[in-house]
Symmetry: C2
Subunit: 144 residues, 2 copies
DNA sequence: ATGATAATGATAATTATTATCATTATAAGG
DNA sequence: CCTTATAATGATAATAATTATCATTATCAT
């Protein structure tokens, strides 16, 4: 089984916080880790319930929050009001191109931008914590 | 009374769409135009109701939508799930620094970024429509 | 094995926004 | 000015995503 490193990270996170392991958390993490997409809570819920139909919505949200705190997951507000979740472990920071028609998300990475952002923040007296940079448009499939 | 140009734009927008003028729309537009802030619908509602306590929430939302369609207003998802609205007429495009503690928003403008974004979009087969670039951190008031 | 307490799932609550609909206001034409 | 078609309004219900509540169950240190 893959994702040994992630499993270990989550496990020590749980232990350090005096939380407990559970079957449901394992199942949710497994599905999250093996799915290479920008998942919504609902999408994750649907996939997890194929294996364990008794799992509750709240547990999905609770586990996603834990995964985020553990540094394995990144929440992102794609566009409207729904939150999507993606892998964070061992990944370089990246931003997103989003198709407003079909929802396709393409990742991109511009290292120079990081320094620029720091400069802008400093100039305005801010201590930068994070950022969001999203480009919206039509993907090649949706332009014709 | 100021904002003659904006008034004219809104007026022709209304006419061209075969809509009608109303006292409420005027009042809402007036407050919106004279308020130099990134307003939420609720904040706008509260201010407008000081002048006209009988105005309804739905009319605030409806009018903000019209102002946006007319090109006078820009909707922005500051951070969480609430939409904020700002002036758009005769303004250069800008992005925002947001204090995660007190909500303060500082505007900034980096002309070079526009070309860069076009390049990124084109490289990925996208036709760019708009973008969102937000830097989150602590403002100078909130760092100590 | 036991007991303290964390986790779960069902469901209610919350929040921002949109839809519905009966009533009122606008404005074009006579 | 009056009439009339219909757009606009305000109250309120509905929606959608997420979070809170709480009785029941599961975990794990002892
Ligand atoms: Mn991504
Ligand atoms: Mn602004
Ligand atoms: Zn597309
Ligand atoms: Zn601040």
């Amino acid at each position: 089984m893959a994702f040994e490193e992630e499993r270990k990270i989550f496990s020590s996170f749980i232990r350090n916080k005096n939380l407990r392991h559970s079957e449901q958390r394992q199942q949710i993490m497994d599905v999250f880790l093996k799915t290479e997409r920008h998942l919504s809570a609902e999408e994750l819920y649907d996939i997890v319930r194929e294996k364990n139909p008794s799992i509750g919505y709240a547990t999905i949200y609770r586990t996603l929050k834990l995964l985020s705190e553990a540094g394995l997951c990144r929440e992102l507000q794609a566009d409207g009001r729904i939150t999507r979740y993606e892998h964070l472990h061992n990944r370089d920071h990246h931003d997103h191109l989003v198709c407003t028609e079909c929802g396709k998300m393409v990742e991109f990475e511009i290292p120079e931008i990081e320094a620029l952002q720091e400069k802008i923040a400093r100039k305005n007296g801010f201590v930068l914590k994070n950022h969001r940079w999203e480009l919206y448009g039509l993907c090649s499939d949706c332009t014709r």
